[in-house]
């Protein structure tokens, strides 16, 4: 059983380019993208970090450079510790990272999700396609420049779209996501409720004078 401090020291010894990443909870390291697969394999083989908890990415902002940081979380079921590995993607327009699906098969879907929602491509991934949105969807919804409610697009199936006249509409935010009232008030008034119900109105209401 390795205490977390030993793991970060051992990783920094083996991969000199690793730097400690400021973290509130678990030991975290920044690595160059090319070394991440080797580091994760090393963690799995030498330190028994056998469980890949998550593969995801961070969009640092439209103007930030590097824009995308891919993050891996691994857990040791025997040593009960987590380690976070983060790597910045080289290219801001076409972010690429190596796959770990040959080490942990679960990474297959996590990487598909990261590709779908942020646009980060994974090299040597056996089946890189969208997982939540449909294959021809033009946007990456979790990027910072994508609005919270969504963008109007036609439905994936054109026949059904013609038949039902439905489309992918921006969802009704109704005064904001989960609007709550501040301060001490009557519980009924304080409950989160829609401040703006215009999306559900079937007829235009006359303007109040």
């Amino acid at each position: 059983m390795t205490a977390p401090a030993d793991v970060t020291v051992a990783l920094q010894d083996k991969f000199p380019a690793a730097t400690l990443r400021p973290s509130g909870d678990h030991p975290a390291l920044n690595l160059p993208v090319a070394e991440t697969v080797a580091a994760l394999k090393y963690l799995r083989d030498e330190f028994a970090y056998d469980f890949l908890v998550d593969v995801t990415a961070i969009d640092n902002g439209v103007d930030a450079s590097p824009r995308f940081t891919v993050v891996w979380h691994v857990y040791s079921t025997t040593g009960h510790g987590y380690v976070r590995i983060a790597a910045d993607c080289a290219n801001d327009e076409n972010p690429v990272a190596p796959t770990v699906s040959h080490i942990w098969p679960t990474a297959n879907w996590h990487e598909r999700e990261t590709y779908d929602l942020l646009g980060v491509k994974f090299e040597n991934h056996p089946d890189l396609r969208r997982i939540l949105m449909w294959d021809g969807y033009p946007y990456h919804p979790l990027r910072k420049d994508f609005p919270l409610a969504g963008i109007q697009t036609p439905l994936p199936d054109l026949e059904v779209a013609d038949l039902t006249k439905a489309s992918v509409k921006p969802a009704p935010m109704m005064g904001g996501p989960f609007v709550a009232s501040p301060g001490e008030m009557n519980m009924t008034d304080a409950e989160p409720r829609a401040k703006d119900e215009s999306w559900t109105e079937r007829r235009e209401k006359p303007a109040s004078e």
Binding site: L132, M133, W134, P141, F146, A149, G150, I151, L155, P156, D157, E159, V160, A161, L163, T164, A166, V168, K169, P170, A171, P172, M173, M174, P177
Partner: protein, 170 residues
């Protein structure tokens, strides 16, 4: 001496083996008493749907025991769960494969209005793509709420002008 007919019920010896009624009454009674659901069970509401089908809440009492997963053999599509935009065209296609008469129950918040998912990925209510007859609120709705919806659907079916519709379509 002629005796008055004190009998309250229908007596075959007097009236014969013929009952005279409206076609609508018979057709609607038949249709409402045997609504065979097609479960479009997409998420958590499907678990409550299974609970309704099981012995404690027993949807079989209402004639809806036979859950036909084939749209060709079912009457009512119960959309139980979140419909994503990716799934929406397939829900519509399955609805189109059902034969008339058909009804739709939107079970739960996600099917009725998109529920808690005010997002780019979730269809904001299955009524955007199929015509819904009964909406059930809840996340998930109690099994009794689904049974209440089924009873409301049965009352709705009993009021339909079925004979006219059949004659017009013939």
């Amino acid at each position: 001496m002629v005796s008055a007919n004190n009998e309250l019920a229908y007596n075959t010896k007097i009236e014969g083996d013929i009952v005279v009624t409206r076609a609508d009454a018979v057709i609607n009674w038949l249709r409402s008493s045997s609504v065979w659901p097609m479960p479009m069970g997409l998420a958590c509401c499907a678990i409550e749907l299974m609970g309704v089908a099981a012995s404690r809440f027993d949807i079989a009492r209402f004639g809806a025991e036979v859950f036909r997963f084939s749209p060709r053999q079912a009457d009512c599509m119960i959309v139980a769960g979140t419909v994503t935009y990716k799934m929406a065209p397939h829900v519509r296609r399955i609805y189109d494969q059902m034969a008339e008469p058909k009804w739709v129950i939107a079970m739960g918040a996600c099917a009725s209005s998109g529920g808690m998912y005010r997002s780019y990925a979730t269809l904001q209510g299955v009524d955007q793509i199929v015509p819904v007859d009964v909406y059930i609120s809840g996340c998930p709705p109690r099994p009794e709420a689904l049974l209440d919806a089924l009873i409301k659907l049965q009352s709705k079916i009993k009021k339909e002008p079925s004979a006219n519709t059949l004659l017009k379509s013939a």
